[in-house]
Symmetry: C2
Subunit: 146 residues, 2 copies
DNA sequence: CCTTTACCTCAACTTAACTTGAGGTTTTAG
DNA sequence: CTAAAACCTCAAGTTAAGTTGAGGTAAAGG
């Protein structure tokens, strides 16, 4: 194997994801790779970072579809550099801040609202958070569940 | 229809959920109701609050299974009162606070980490948040770059 | 050389939280 | 009284993000 090429198993191990997940990401166009003579996947090192970013984004509650969207602005024919990744992450930073603020509002109204009588009233932020940051009901707030 | 009984359609409208969702919640044991002479569901008013709590909890990222768990401590044969709901919500308040803190840590490391070279390092909180609040399975055994 | 891993593809299964549809009944409004 | 609207049950479909398994090939090690 050439010096800087990884098999799917190696990438899986280094990234802490399963081989099948990598297959899946590839099928979704989130990662790419070449093949060796025996038709086995060979990944360049920057796939490691890509997978890391995928995982980080997922922890923020970002879906694979959105991640794919975001990745689409990365350079297609050279390895992304710091600037590329930073541009990407700054958008998510914003999103994440909004989500945090939304959850804070929710939390701050929680005890009062569930405990009080206002829950069925249209003014209550717990009951009725028609939140611009959370159009159609807040995006799925994905808790990292065991 | 008796003074304080609601049809499924009325509950749906008041709570902003679909009729099918209410059927679904009933099937999961999250809400209960009686039937009228024609076998149609009749809900007592406190189901409104229950549904409101379900929706609020979902916005916090709590699953229906967990909500059901939490509901199981509510009094079975009287309408829950403020104390009951408050006890319930205080546990969630705690959970939500932890979730918020986790996301804050994630956010605060985000720009630096995705943009910098540390992403594949085992110290990076974005890449490797072995966070008890984010129990993503057993530690991914991340090897630092060879 | 031979055997054990690792890898390949493709299809089907999984869970959560619902939605949609079919086929039939009950209520309500005019 | 009748027609529309609301309701009923039960089965099957939907989406996300993978996992699992079958049947077969490639690579690695002793």
């Amino acid at each position: 194997m050439k010096t800087q090429e990884f098999s799917v198993g190696q990438v899986a191990k280094r990234c802490g994801v399963s081989v099948s997940a990598l297959h899946f990401y590839e099928s979704k166009g989130l990662i790419a790779c070449g093949r060796n003579g025996g038709n086995q996947r060979r990944f360049s090192p920057d796939v490691i970072r890509r997978v890391a970013v995928i995982k980080a984004a997922q922890k923020m509650g970002i879906s694979l579809a959105e991640i794919q969207q975001a990745f689409s602005v990365l350079p297609k024919h050279r390895a992304p550099d710091k600037k590329d990744w930073q541009a990407l992450s700054s958008g998510w930073h914003q999103q994440l801040s909004e989500r945090i603020e939304y959850l804070q509002r929710l939390r701050d109204s929680l005890t009062g609202c569930i405990g009080c009588g206002c829950l069925s009233m249209s003014k209550c932020p717990v009951y009725n958070p028609d939140d611009k940051l959370a159009p159609q009901g807040p995006g799925p707030v994905i808790l990292d569940k065991a």
